[in-house]
């Protein structure tokens, strides 16, 4: 049992515990400490009344202030949206092909597009927009449907091969496995390889190409954008650049699809996406650009 006694030198009662001759004095708490403690208790009581605090079985107590973290987020988001409103209105008002002529707006659009790209486009085109087999690389200078701002905008709006959208991009390459002999397929694939400097040209392949392929891909194999027919004479291959790949594509071509983003994303976001994709380095057609961003007026901020 505790052995309480008065400690001689200090005149304070001990708590009665002793460890190896060391005793603990029953010194009262400092008053300031106690008051701090009481204030925290009072604070907690007020807090419980004002804010959501107690978890119950299916929900929690609400608090009389009606504050929620979701509500606060919604408020902050709408404040941020309101702050961006003027920018969005300006982008909404401008034709997409004139965006590049306004460097400030363009750079804002590129930044907004980069964010939207990371949410909506990276699943197919990759986080750096470098694509993969069957998914076009948006950084390079090869464009199936054109790389100007309006062309990119059109592609994003209406997608690729979207049924029910009459403006969607549609290209259709026949499956030549039912039309040509395997020997002919090999020949024409060899000829296609030779167009971009891989392997020797062959006359038989050239004839087959002229009869069957030149209609869409052009006599020189450089493709036709109005049909979305790829350029076969360059170093970029959507479905692979080996002869095997080319033969497979002649025999039973694959066709990519892309959603139409009109209706899924708002028009301003789609314009921003077009600006971002154009800025990745492969964009074409700068005729609208009148001055470079760094050469604008330089007033002290």
């Amino acid at each position: 049992m505790a052995n309480k006694r008065i400690d001689e030198p200090t005149g304070t009662e001990t708590v009665g515990h002793e460890w190896d001759g060391i005793e603990e004095l029953d010194t009262p708490m400092p008053r300031w400490w106690l008051w701090t403690f009481y204030i925290t208790i009072a604070w907690a009581a007020v807090y419980v009344v004002l804010y959501p605090a107690w978890p119950l079985i299916s929900h929690g107590t609400q608090g009389v202030l009606g504050w929620t973290s979701r509500g606060q987020l919604a408020k902050e988001m709408s404040a941020a949206d309101a702050a961006r409103q003027s920018l969005r209105e300006q982008i909404a008002a401008i034709d997409v092909e004139k965006l590049a002529a306004s460097p400030d707006l363009m750079s804002q659009a590129v930044a907004g597009g980069a964010a939207a790209f990371k949410v909506n486009c990276v699943q197919c085109h990759g986080s750096g927009a470098a694509g993969s087999a069957g998914y076009p690389n948006l950084n390079d200078d090869d464009w199936l449907w054109g790389g100007s701002l309006p062309a990119i905008h059109q592609t994003i709006l209406h997608g690729i091969r979207q049924p029910g959208d009459d403006q969607t991009r549609t290209s259709q390459m026949p499956a030549f496995g039912d039309i040509l002999e395997p020997r002919q397929i090999s020949d024409v694939a060899g000829y296609v390889m030779s167009l971009s400097g891989k392997g020797p040209a062959n006359a038989a392949g050239a004839q087959i190409f002229a009869d069957n392929c030149a209609v869409c891909h052009g006599a020189d194999g450089k493709g036709l954008r109005q049909f979305g027919a790829p350029n076969l004479a360059d170093a970029i291959w959507l479905y692979g650049g080996t002869k095997q790949d080319v033969m497979r594509q002649v025999r039973a071509p694959r066709h990519g699809v892309m959603p139409a983003w009109q209706g899924r994303l708002d028009p301003v976001t789609i314009k921003m996406l077009a600006a971002y994709v154009h800025s990745l380095g492969g964009g074409e057609d700068f005729t609208q650009v009148t001055e470079t961003p760094v050469e604008q007026s330089n007033e002290q901020p």
Binding site: A100, P103, S127, G128, A130, N137, N139, D140, D141, D142, N231, D234, A235, I236, S279, G281, G282, E284, D285, F286, V289, T292, P293, V294, E295, Q296, S297, N298, E299, Q300, P301
Partner: protein, 518 residues
């Protein structure tokens, strides 16, 4: 001169006789003939702290007081006046001589403009200020504390307000002790109003360093200034009144770490305010001393040194932490010595060496020898070397800068003709006060060309010219196409200004590519 009516107030002195922990204190304590009363440490004090007793220091005139007036005038003039000095920097920069432009991350100081990446200049200035403090302390002791420390200056200002409203020492002590009357309440209210006004002016002057002063004053009074301006003024008003009006010498004695550090900075060759006890002791009133001149020293125990002390200490108890070496006690003591017809310097600036010498009957060394001891010279050397290095850096610093960051995702891109393309975000910085035409050139990377996000590849070339606005950073997106089969290799962007100065800078980067196999 001793006043028989004057109450003995030495018990009112804050006891801070705990010896300064250094050789100085030990040696001086040893040289003293009578030891100060040792504080009893055997039992715990009944109260946690000794309540503060107000210090009502007496007005005094003398060379040190006049020097203190001068320093006070100069430092306050610098503090309150500097933001109002104008400095024409042309159309692209603000016209305030000293301006900390936090919003645009610039620091202007007369002809010098500091960018964030040049902050080492400010760091260097701070280090110089630190070493300067060491230098001053090792040479002339706590001169910083005594004359130019803001706490000292503002406490002095507040004490003069006290004197102006309530009268000098005796009148103030009487008023303190007197019961509350309307007249006393009015006086006190008036006094605190003036304290608040001084505090407000002090806080107000501080914010002027962070924005254009005339505009800010205008906006401030119209309620249009930034909230941070009002908050800063409120906080600084409060701290000025608290530290200068309430706490005063307690800041020096209890709060400030500098006296503790200073005791380590000082040695037996540092000047300090000293009571020459071998000359003054045993002390006694003039009447007693005249009766028995053989038995008494020069100190007539008039207590004027205590009465004038702004921290309320008795210098005759030896060097102590409460002594800020403002030397007002020297003025007071010299005046008394003149009145009683004894030589001045019973309390005087002296080094410990001098004290020993003088106590032993030798002549003191000349002051210049004291000031030029090795420790002082070493500090002076370090301080000057730093200053010269900074001046050199300032004189030769470049006002342009280029930095380049490659895109990492993807690291390179194959183009339709087989060539390899890399993308870089290049930043061109123009730190001068006029727009400058600059040229970026590819250095290395044979056969490569570059273009920007606003020009097409048809316009690609080995170099790009652009104009960077004054005082700005221009981001530039550069695409570089190298011939087919180019592999990873280092190269650099070379920047040169197309004006007379032709300043240059280079950014080293690496080009990525698949190499011959790709």
């Amino acid at each position: 001169m001793s006043n028989p009516d004057e109450p003995k107030i030495e018990e009112g002195v804050v006891k801070t006789t705990q010896p300064v922990s250094s050789a100085v204190a030990d040696a001086v304590a040893g040289a003293r003939r009578h030891e100060p009363h040792e504080p009893a440490r055997q039992h715990l004090p009944e109260k946690l702290y000794e309540p503060r007793r107000a210090v009502h220091n007496k007005r005094i005139d003398g060379p040190f007081r006049r020097f203190k007036w001068l320093v006070m005038f100069v430092t306050l003039a610098i503090y309150y006046g500097t933001p109002w000095i104008r400095w024409d920097r042309g159309p692209y920069a603000p016209d305030q001589a000293v301006l900390v432009d936090l919003a645009h991350r610039r620091f202007y100081m007369f002809g010098i403009e500091i960018w964030p990446q040049e902050f080492y200049f400010v760091a260097g200035l701070l280090i110089m200020a630190g070493i300067g403090l060491f230098l001053i302390t090792s040479a002339v002791g706590r001169a910083w504390c005594g004359y130019s420390c803001p706490q000292t200056v503002w406490t002095d200002v507040f004490q003069h307000v006290d004197r102006f409203i309530d009268g000098d020492r005796n009148a103030r002590m009487r008023l303190d002790a007197a019961p509350w009357t309307w007249s006393k309440a009015l006086r006190r209210a008036f006094k605190w109003t003036i304290y608040l006004a001084i505090g407000f002016w002090t806080g107000g002057a501080w914010i002027m360093y962070f924005a254009d002063a005339p505009t800010l004053v205008h906006d401030f009074w119209r309620g249009e200034a930034a909230p941070v301006a009002y908050i800063t003024v409120a906080v600084l008003t409060l701290t000025t009144v608290t530290l200068g009006g309430f706490m005063r010498e307690q800041v020096c004695i209890y709060m400030c770490p500098w006296p503790r550090i200073q005791s380590a900075m000082m040695d037996e060759k540092s000047l300090t305010v000293t009571y020459k006890d071998w000359r003054g002791e045993p002390r006694g009133s003039l009447k007693k001393a005249r009766k028995d001149p053989e038995h008494y020293g020069d100190c007539v125990d008039c207590l004027q040194c205590v009465a004038v002390c702004p921290t309320g200490i008795d210098i005759r108890e030896g060097p102590q932490i409460g002594c800020i070496t403002c030397a007002l006690c020297i003025d007071a003591c010299d005046r008394t010595m003149a009145e009683v017809g004894r030589p001045r310097g019973l309390i005087d600036y002296a080094t410990l060496e001098d004290c020993k010498r003088e106590a032993a009957g030798e002549a003191p060394r000349p002051v210049w020898k004291t000031l030029l001891h090795p420790r002082t010279l070493i500090y002076l050397g370090i301080w000057s070397a730093l200053g010269l290095a900074m001046l050199f850096a300032l004189g030769t610093r470049s006002r342009i800068d280029i930095s380049a960051a490659p895109d990492r995702n993807p690291p390179f891109m194959l183009l339709s003709d087989g060539s390899v393309r890399n993308s870089f975000t290049v930043k061109l910085r123009n730190m001068s006060t006029a727009p400058r035409r600059m040229k970026v050139t590819l250095d290395g990377l044979p056969g490569a060309v570059m273009w920007t996000s606003t020009t097409s590849r048809e316009a690609a070339a080995r170099s790009i010219e652009t104009t960077v606005p004054a005082d700005a950073t221009a981001p530039l997106r550069l695409y570089i196409a190298a011939p087919k089969g180019t592999g990873e290799q280092p190269f650099s962007f070379h920047l040169v200004t197309l004006d007379k100065q032709a300043e240059r800078d280079t950014a080293k980067v690496t080009f990525s590519g698949p190499g011959a196999g790709g």
